[in-house]
């Protein structure tokens, strides 16, 4: 593979990432080629030692996703990190894939469940606070109080479970990221040697 082919395939693999990030990465590898040529290696030798640019791009892409999540642990970045893991899993760490799919399913299911608890809780609370709106025909004060308390309870349950669940997910994704990083490098080393 020539230097141009390598750089083109790398760039193709990075499409969609932050332009500054792409420029930094491209600079790194351009410099690597220049340094290699200065020390007397051919473009082909250097490209071969660098490894498959498509695979490197996948690792860089995943790494960018992991880092965004590590720098700001927002739900959006968490989904990004999970998708980054999926990207690696589909091609490079295939045996993780079924596990990740199951985890993603559980993640979506549980998030929806917590959301439903909160929404239903709020609906009950509003029904109790504004009996005029009541669509389920509230009459007695005790009923209103019971419904209102049930609403508060459901909201608290939804929020509490959600918080607990996000702790668990954070922990699992962190472990998976760690594992994927080690394993990715592991695979790369094998490819280099064989």
């Amino acid at each position: 593979m020539t230097r141009n082919e390598f750089m083109t395939r790398l760039r193709q693999g990075l499409v969609g990432l932050d332009p500054d990030y792409i420029r930094d990465v491209m600079n790194d590898y351009e410099t690597h080629f220049e340094d290699g040529e200065k020390s007397g290696r051919s473009e082909q030798e250097i490209a071969a030692a660098l490894g498959d640019p498509g695979r490197l791009a996948r690792e860089l892409r995943a790494e960018a996703g992991f880092q965004r999540w590590e720098n700001a642990r927002t739900p959006g970045n968490l989904v990004g990190a999970m998708l980054a893991l999926m990207g690696l899993a589909t091609v490079d760490v295939i045996f993780l894939f079924p596990f990740l799919c199951a985890m993603f399913g559980i993640f979506v299911g549980f998030s929806v469940a917590c959301l439903v608890l909160v929404v239903v809780g709020f609906a009950l609370l509003i029904g109790a606070l504004f009996p005029g709106l009541a669509w389920f025909g509230l009459t007695g004060g005790v009923e209103v109080l019971a419904i209102g308390l049930a609403g508060v309870g459901l909201v608290a349950l939804g929020v509490g479970l959600g918080a607990l669940f996000s702790l668990v997910v954070n922990f699992v994704v962190k472990a998976l990221v760690q594992y994927a990083r080690l394993h990715f490098r592991l695979i790369n080393t094998v490819t280099q040697e064989s």
Binding site: L60, L186, E193
Partner: protein
């Protein structure tokens, strides 16, 4: 199967090796990559994502320095937290190595 054992062994120590390399003096990526490839058979291309992550983790920082030939060069430098990470990893490594050697000694 010896190849798989070697790979397993390398797996955990790449970061420590890079830290150790930098503790001997600041260096630029091409040199780090060549040394790591030569010493532990790490894919040269993989050094870059690793350096990026170590930078993100605050273990190394970069600075630009004029080079006699060509554009300024990006150097990597160990941070304080990188130095203390190296120290604790060396401690772990030595303890691990000693206990493995003890068991192997009983067999041999």
């Amino acid at each position: 199967m010896s190849e798989s054992l070697q790979v397993q062994l390398k797996k955990g120590v790449l970061e420590m090796c890079v830290l150790a390399l930098l503790s001997g003096g600041d260096n630029y990526a091409y040199e780090i990559a060549s040394k790591m490839a030569e010493a532990v058979g790490m894919g040269e291309g993989t050094v870059y994502p690793l350096m990026r992550r170590m930078q993100n983790d605050g273990l190394v920082t970069t600075y630009l320095m004029e080079s006699p030939s060509g554009p300024p060069r990006k150097y990597y430098k160990l941070t304080k937290s990188g130095a203390s990470a190296l120290k604790s990893q060396i401690g772990d490594w030595k303890a691990f190595e000693a206990s493995v050697r003890k068991i192997l000694g009983e067999v041999a």
